[in-house]
């Protein structure tokens, strides 16, 4: 079954979406969309370093993305400029460093377009194993960290006062993002990774009553987007990574419709619940 490149792409993309959906909910709730983009921008530098050191590119991407979050935490502590500005500085500095590094290593053949936009149709069975392994790790840790992370998202002070450890949860969460960016690079590419975190989560928000439901909904929305995007890309011969993002965006727009309709009706009365 996995002999077919299209099936492999579907399986890989859907596996990734299962992990990015729930993780992306926290990105959205914690207003960390730009942080995700910053990490993703650093991926090229990770690739360059990995190639130079003859390591697996994914490992390099993970290490550099994790380093970026450490640098961010340290610079935040210095407090010279706002986090927003820091992210802007780090994102573009990391991307520029990556481009410079790739150019400097011209004796190496680096498929720049492949890293920037992904090449899901080229995933191997080994890649699928890495995606599912990494995805399972991300979901497992997320489930284990769910309560402290959610409490810290609602109020860090509250979480700390009541004996949960919001800083620890935050650091592990950043590492999970680094993992997801490393495994997602091959699917949608560096420039579009954050879309798989944010768009399905935002889509699921329209229907969710609780955080857990939204996480499941985001995973479903991501899986559907991968299916639609890849099918579309096969039918119309469009680039696969961007097609997935376009499909996710279309789902997001579609999800706005019932929400807008529901808002126009009078809000349901808060009756006595039995």
């Amino acid at each position: 079954m996995l002999d077919d490149f299209f099936t492999r792409a579907l399986v890989a993309g859907m596996g990734l979406a299962l992990a990015t959906g729930p993780l992306g909910c926290f990105v959205v709730w914690r207003r960390m969309a730009y942080f995700g983009a910053t990490m993703a921008h650093s991926a090229l530098l990770g690739v360059a370093l990995a190639v130079a050191l003859e390591m697996e590119p994914m490992v390099g991407v993970f290490v550099v993305a994790a380093l970026v979050s450490v640098v961010l935490l340290l610079l935040e502590r210095v407090g010279a400029v706002s986090t927003d500005t820091l992210l802007g500085i780090l994102a573009h500095a990391a991307l520029a460093l990556g481009l410079v590094a790739v150019a400097a290593l011209s004796w190496l053949r680096v498929d720049l377009m492949g890293f920037l936009f992904g090449d899901i149709l080229a995933v191997s069975v080994g890649d699928i194993a890495v995606i599912y392994g990494g995805g399972a790790l991300v979901l497992g840790v997320l489930a284990w960290l769910w309560r402290p992370l959610l409490a810290a998202t609602v109020s860090a002070d509250l979480a700390r006062a009541e004996g949960l450890h919001p800083e620890r949860a935050r650091i592990v969460f950043m590492l999970l993002m680094a993992v997801v960016i490393a495994i997602a690079m091959k699917i949608v590419g560096i420039l579009l990774i954050t879309s798989l975190l944010i768009i399905p989560a935002a889509t699921a928000r329209r229907f969710a009553q609780g955080p857990e439901g939204m996480a499941v909904g985001a995973a479903v929305a991501g899986v559907v987007a991968v299916g639609l995007g890849l099918s579309g890309s096969l039918a119309w011969d469009t680039p696969s990574g961007p097609s997935i993002v376009v499909a996710a965006f279309a789902l997001f727009l579609l999800a706005l419709v019932p929400g807008a309709w529901r808002r126009r009706r009078a809000p349901a009365a808060e009756g006595e619940t039995p």
């Binding site: 709730w29 207003r31 998202t153 509250l158 006062a161 004996g163 935002a202 969710a208 006595e272 619940t273």
Partner: protein
Amino acid sequence: MDTSQAPAATSNADTLVEAHGIGVHRGGRWLVHGIDLTVRRGEIVTLIGPNGSGKSTTAKTVVGVLAPDAGRMWRAPGLRIGYVPQSLAMDQTLPLTVGRLMTLTGRRPRAAVREALEAVGIAPLIGAQVQSLSGGEFQRALLARAMLRDPDLLVLDEPVQGVDFPGELALYGLIREIRDRIGCGILLISHDLHVVMAATDTVICLNGHVSCRGTPEAVVSNPAYRRLFGHAAADTLAVYRHRHVPGHDHDHPPPDGTAAESGDA
């Protein structure tokens, strides 16, 4: 004990938290310094003071959100804290029902959740989104969540903000009820003087440091209190207490309540 001017030198079994000369230093200045305070089981201690007087800073140090830069903060071993922060930094994109908010920091049985919501009078809102609550409902939900932890110490940072005057009265009544019900100690922060004093055992006036402390009666007549809040506030308060603490004054008839309410506070 009524008019103790200093915390107990040694902790007894009922002492939940004890601050010894704590100070918090940020941005080149002391937000608070030299704060001594003790909260015992069953006691309601209220911190009052103008904006920027370090009430929240003190409360955050007591619960361990901030580490003191000076002094020593002692908490009873295994102390369980229920905390109502001044605000939640929740994004609109986070869907959260009142029922789910109740179990935010710990698992609780469904029946206990319902019971806590009933105790604060918002049981029908269990399925409502937190963002849709009114100010009073929201504060009640936060109170229910904190008391559901069966805490030894409740720390309430401005629990009546966004609540109208009758709502305030009800909330302070509720806080006292919670104290009686679960026997916890309560550290309460407020900047509105009138109502809170009637529900308090010990009042601590903050202005970066402790400017006075004692029972509400003792504090109101303290010159430091009058300097901090002005004579009008003190007088209004005195009248208020006469009106709302029945049996407090046996020798003279209570003044007319309506007149007191419209006095030039």
